[in-house]
Each structure stands twice: as C-alpha cells, then as structure tokens.
Symmetry: C2
Amino acid sequence: MKTDTVFKKAFNRTLDLMVRGDIKDALPSENEVRRRLGVSRTTIRKVLAELVHRGVITTDRRRVGDRQINPVDYFPDIETLPRNLHVEQQFMEWMLRGDTKPGTLINELDLARQFGVATNGIREFLIRFSRFGLLEKRPNSGWIFEGFTEDFALELFEIRVMFELRSARLFAKQPDQSPLWPKLEALKRAHLDLLEEIEHRFHDFSSLDNRFHRLINEASPNRFINDFYDIITFIFHYHYQWNKRDEKQRNHAALIEHLAYIDALLSHDPVGVELAANAHLSSAKETLMRSLVRMGRTDGCA
Amino acid sequence: MKTDTVFKKAFNRTLDLMVRGDIKDALPSENEVRRRLGVSRTTIRKVLAELVHRGVITTDRRRVGDRQINPVDYFPDIETLPRNLHVEQQFMEWMLRGDTKPGTLINELDLARQFGVATNGIREFLIRFSRFGLLEKRPNSGWIFEGFTEDFALELFEIRVMFELRSARLFAKQPDQSPLWPKLEALKRAHLDLLEEIEHRFHDFSSLDNRFHRLINEASPNRFINDFYDIITFIFHYHYQWNKRDEKQRNHAALIEHLAYIDALLSHDPVGVELAANAHLSSAKETLMRSLVRMGRTDGCA
DNA sequence: ATATTGATTTTTATCGATAAGAGGAAGAGA
DNA sequence: TCTCTTCCTCTTATCGATAAAAATCAATAT
C-alpha cells in the first residue's frame, strides 16, 4: 500500500495557495490546479474532496468559504516525505553519524526493522546508493560498506578536478553571445548579495554552490559529468549537514573563491580560469579532508 | 521464493569436477567442496544429497560409484542463471534489438509480464541500470528511455578518453620494479598469440580488451574510473553481441592498435603513449559510431 | 467544439509471506 | 584437539496482493 504523501503534500500546498491569496473566491479548474502543483488530477480531486469535507470550500461551485485556515489544518511535514527519502535520510544518518567503519556489512533485514520499512525499500535504496562507490554487493549475501574514507575523498576529488577544469575551459571559450554569460553575471550578483549578508545567511551558500558548478557544466553538457556531480552534491549535502564546524568561515572563504573564479571566467582568460578553479577545488578538498580526519577522532583522541 | 539457480549451477559444476577427474574415489569434505565452488555449505549438502539420491555417489563415505555421468544428469544452463541476469539479458535485447526509440516510456508492469518476473525484479534492474545514463525516473510514474543515441556515445567517449589518457600516463610513469610491467608483458604475449590465430579465435578479443584496459587502471586505482569502465564493458558487451558485422576485421585492427599501445607503454615514452592511446580510442569510437548509424538504418533506407 | 468534471482502467509504491541460501553452534568422529 | 557433519537460525531473493496515484475514457456543461 502506497503512502499518501503525494496527496498530503498537495493538500498543504493548496492551503498555502489559499492563504497567500493566490487562490480566492472560486477555485480554478481541476486542471489548472493540477498544472500548478504538478500532480495528477486524481490527487487534486482528492484534495478538493477533503477541502469540502473540512468545510474550507463549499460544494457548489467550490467557492472559498470564510472559514479561517489555521496551522492545524496542515498535515505534518513528515507525512509529506516519500518513503524513499525517509530511508535515505535514516541511512545517511546511520552511516555518517554512527561513525560506521569500513568493512561493516549491511543487513537489509536489520535496517528494514530499524527504519520501519519493508526490506524491499532498503534494497532499492542500497542499489541506488551503490553507484556512489561506497557499497558493494555480495550476491546471496549482504552488502559491504566500503567506508567514507580518505581514499574515497581523494578519488572523488581527482575526478572532480578533471571534470571541472574541462568544463571551465570550455565555458570560457564560449562565444560572447552565449546566453550563459548573462546567467553567470546573475550568479555573480547573487554571490555579492550573499557576501553582504554572510553573517546570518551563510546557510544559503550550498545551493548557490550547486547552481554555480552546474552552470559551468551547461556550456558543453555531458551526462556522465552531470551524474558525477550528483554524487558530489549528495555526499556534501549529508556530510556537512552533520559537520557544521566552521560553517560560516568555510562558506565565506568559498564565496570569495567563487567570485575570483567567476571573474576569471568573465574575462575569458584561460590561464586565470585554470588557476582560480584549481585554487577553489583544492581548498574545498582541504576542507573536506580536514573534517574527515576530525570525524575519525570523535572517539576522543583529539 | 528464491530460485534454486545456485544449487543447480553448483550441482553441474560438481559433476564437471567428477567427469574431469578432479574428484575421484571419495569426495573431499563439504568444506573443501564449498571452497572450490564458492557457495555455502548448505548448498553443497543439497548437491551431495541429490548426488546420493541419483545414485552417482554412495551414501556411506560418499564414494564415487561406477555409475556413468551423462549429459542428461546436468541441469539445463538456463536454470543456472540467476533471475536478475535473465532480466538484464531480456531488457538489453528489448532495448538494442527492438530498436527502441529515445523518449519511449518504460512500463514496469508491462516488462514484468513480458519477461515473466515480478515487477520488483524489473524495478531493481532499472534502478541498477539507470546509472548508465540511459534512463530517467519520473516519480510515481514510469521511466523514460533516453535512447542509445550518438550523443550518448559521444559523451561516453569523451569521458573514456579523459580517463584512459590519465591512467596511461600514470602507468607509464611507474617505477621499473612495479609488478605491473611483467603483467603487461604477459598481456602482450597473449595479444601476439591471439593475433596468430585471429582467423578462428577472434571472439576472444573482447575479454583481452577488458583485461588490458583494466590493467592500465591498476597503476593508480580510482573507483570512479573503474566504475565507469563497467559501463563501457556492459554497453559494448551487449551492443556488439547483436552487431557482429565486420567483427573479425574490427578485432584484428584493435589488436594491432593494442600492441602499439602496449609497446609505447613498455618504452616509457609519454608522448608515444598518448599518441597510441589516442589512436586506439578514436578508432574504437569510429567503429561504435559507424555501427550506431547502421543500426538506425535497419528500417531499410540503406 | 472545447474545456470541465465524473467514472474507470492501469501503473506504481509498498507491504508481507516464503523457499533458497548463508552461516553459526554444538555434537560426533578421528 | 581438530575437523567434519548435523541441526538450526537468520538473511536474501522472489512472488503476490493492495492502496495511492496516474492516465484514459466518457459524459456533461459552457
């Protein structure tokens, strides 16, 4: 039996639309709502039915009633997360926080019980996750966890540098009329904005980081490079979610490096691009390696 | 209910051992057989029980009887293939032979019925397969097949060249005492042997090809490069399984290129290595691209 | 006609059940 | 004491069932 997370999320989002005034008086057609929320009409109808049932809208012509919408009407956030995300989060927590050692073998059944899902869900997650190079399957037996080790990080960065330099070079070579230049300019402004407010908005850096590196790849797209960047994004997302040490400084420094990198790109100077990219990447690597060493020492020897 | 392919394969292999005379008179201990076949003792016991049941060995002390072993005693090969391999093969056939167009959407239920397995098996295969960059999942809906197109091949080769040049360079730089040099020598000899008998042994090239490129990576291992080579191996394996055109010439040419490449490596000459590697890779690319174009034309316009 | 809603069919996500296979504990034999 | 075997438990591979969500088809209204 599927979870009804899609419905609950759609319901909450519909309430949002009404609260924000994007929907007032009569509701738009089912198809219109469907388009806005990006779910099927079946789900929309369920949402509408529930709204009627709760007296938020009237049955005839579905007018928005004068009933106030309050926080209790919303489904709790957890119930709007699909199962596989749930599994992912719990697994990453198990792996990164639990200080899971290289060579640990993973027991599907055990994890399934721990996470409260069927073994199937665990297995599907593990298959998906295995492309990150941290797991290996022994047929008819379990999985072996290779460990989020220094070696892993070094190998990851070796590829990352190759790919990034390749893409940056190609980006710099684009014709002047390319639509990517204005995009890069916009991104530069976003960086400057963030820099101004770095004191309290430093969390926003990671999404900017992502946008930047993906933009670099857009100049000459290659699906394998893009896929590889998924790995980086994923690993960093979870790793730094639980390693907040020096987050502000880290992000501040990276922001400055990005700006130098962007300027080098904007100046079309290949040597400068290479230098700036290298500088940024090696500092990112440094940061990760340092935090890995620290992680390993959480048992008290530092 | 699991399939008993492990048992059947182990059974066949045990018969092989007896036929080949590796096992005569009394059988070795369960643990010994286990070690040789690489399966669990549970499975071995099942095999032994079956052998007794069929009168191939005697119950007491498990002596090999004088009953002749004949082909009928073997389980058919198909029953020794695990389910997921089955799915894989059928899917690849569906995709490559069926001339499946880019943008085709994949229906798990439909494939499950077609291949005679539960939807779960299909889904697990698709998740595993999606790392090859040919599929994309739409949550709560199906999968979309991106197509085994020219773009795909071009992107694949761009990465392949980057990785191979990197690895070849590092390989050439190894110290003289590295154990990889003798391995390379051995591989060279294998190439020469095959070259002599190319007329009727040209099928053996692909495994040699694999060994060669994996050896190159061994000098400075990187799991992501290795994983990427899995993609290449997989794609080529199936693609050329159904595109046998010019197979002999193709392999013959590649063999010659390999030899030049190997000699360049053995001479530690970085420029020569780069040239030879490039030459080989671009010819491999040529071959693939040509066969892709032909595939597209199987509808008769050529 | 065309867009909107209503009813119906298909497909996906998810669970639970079960035979096959892995592996451990302890007795039996050398 | 050590290996081999028997017995037993736990895990994986695989199926089938079912609610949720998507997709399609039919009816109605504008």
